[in-house]
Subunit: 368 residues, 2 copies
Amino acid sequence: MTTLASLDTPALLVDLDRMERNLARAAAYTKEHGLALRPHVKTHKSPRVAAQQLALGAVGVTCATPHEARVMADAGSDILVAYPPVGTPRADRLAALPAHVTLTVALDSAEAIAEMSRAAASAGRKVSVYVELDLGMHRVGVPVIDTAIALARRVREEPSLDFAGIAFYPGHVREAPDDQGAKLAELSAALTGALRKFDAADVSARVVSGGSTPTLWRSHEIEGVTEIRPGTYVYNDRTTAAIGACGWDDCALTVLATVISTAVPGQAVIDTGTKALGREPVRGAPGEGFGMLLEHPEVLVERMSEEHGVLDLSKSSWRPRVGERVRVIPNHVCIVVHLNDFVYGIRGDVLETSWPVAARGRGERAVI
Amino acid sequence: MTTLASLDTPALLVDLDRMERNLARAAAYTKEHGLALRPHVKTHKSPRVAAQQLALGAVGVTCATPHEARVMADAGSDILVAYPPVGTPRADRLAALPAHVTLTVALDSAEAIAEMSRAAASAGRKVSVYVELDLGMHRVGVPVIDTAIALARRVREEPSLDFAGIAFYPGHVREAPDDQGAKLAELSAALTGALRKFDAADVSARVVSGGSTPTLWRSHEIEGVTEIRPGTYVYNDRTTAAIGACGWDDCALTVLATVISTAVPGQAVIDTGTKALGREPVRGAPGEGFGMLLEHPEVLVERMSEEHGVLDLSKSSWRPRVGERVRVIPNHVCIVVHLNDFVYGIRGDVLETSWPVAARGRGERAVI
């Protein structure tokens, strides 16, 4: 029988009670505020978890890559790819999604419109489009509203495309929720101004899609938003807890690790390095190191090699023995899931189930 | 027909001419200096590449994980797992390697000896052991030579184990090769002292296994070393080139990327973020950012999200258009390979072959 003790490490553990509570809480919040919830699957990359989100009332899912969209087509039919469909292979893969999929893409350029229009027409399908605005993150998105309106008009001219609305991503708001007020007010003002301009230009947005995990619980304060796309909330992580967008008891995913050496005095080494944890910082709150021990929160993963994580024991009286197991709360859970191939679901200490990270990677390789 | 242009991005490209040159150069160097070459497979994770290394004279391969060892058993029979066999599942998986494998493990604790001895005896196989010394890296390894000798004696007492030698990893030597003199002299002195003590205690080491890619070309100056275990040299990367342990023309692996947005002024965004590149710094030499463009070395990946890499164009007159393709030289290639599932081999601009990163991940999941 496979038990927790019989699992080789490193291994990803998902506390199912915590995950289900995280999913239910976001579903209740969005229902209460009349917001559509379209979770980003980048965090779990699993059609099984997506199906749970949809069963709780999510209107559809959000993906970043063609492979994520292809895998999620097994869980639901309403798929947003919140990523510019640029490059012929990418646009063609999106257009080749199964026929039951209602596809929406977010984009910010005339090139992306041309590419998606060509691919959609060639595949004989209709694709909905959100025009992406830059409302302060400065990553992708059109910063000038008149330019965005011109793109929306261009979308309308394409028979294979349908202008559905606007998207933005408030990724620059990473403060503690209590401290987000000023930035959310600024965001609301910018969005309200943009929506007025779109209305005045007679290209009204049916959907206004925003929302992240850090801003999740204040999404209703961003005036005009109709839909949110949080991803991390399914598992949460050290960053989310550190900024206060979840409690420490809401961190559902940990990395099970084994202490493999205590030979160098003053430290212990676990088998969880950059190839299991990633080298992600805590962002938006103080937080040294690359992960924190669940059982000993005063102990951090101080430095890493590919398969080694060095624990700083200087703030702890705990002295691990070689062979002891610990669980690491990662700084950024989305990367951890992407680095690994499967996940084990536990309730308390009982191993209940496992599932593959089915949408990790890029899809099938071309065999040449 | 699959061509370079028809590949979706991000995609890993291996310049086969460069890779073959890298492999041949290390083979010639070790032959010239009478050193055994036991390449670490963590960089390529491919039995196909391992077979090329073995065909060029490598004595065997080095692995870090049970999964790597299992996959490499298809390429060769002489396998070192340079990682403590701690934890019952890990030791059992190593003991269960195919019977044709001659297995050696490196370890630094009595617990690891007990675990490996138990698993080997139970599987009815003999396992060779290197006792690992800490000669300055302070990660794993025994810092006190008398303690290491006691471990070697303990190994000798176990009927299923064979004391084969000592291992160390000079991972703390990351200077430019021309600047490594002082640290290599210190290493040589420490190693010579350790070997004398081992000899005097009548537990002579048949093999002295060290060596990394940064120290590759000066390995013969570390007195007493009989075997080296470089990994990165197969592909090299921005760090290796920046410290001068290879030329820029020896960087064999690049990440093919597409410019997906130029909407925010002053920057361009490619589809290569932390999920394709990792968030690895340049170490041992100056180097901002997370990667450098092959075609425009003045342009760096300045910041990243999971699927976005923001290019800093401030030092370049190049202004990319949306849809243009570029190739990124990653800071640390081992992580990039681990993040991806397959590799495309090119000669010049011609796509010649592809292969899976067969030993990435942790092996099969337990279905519960």
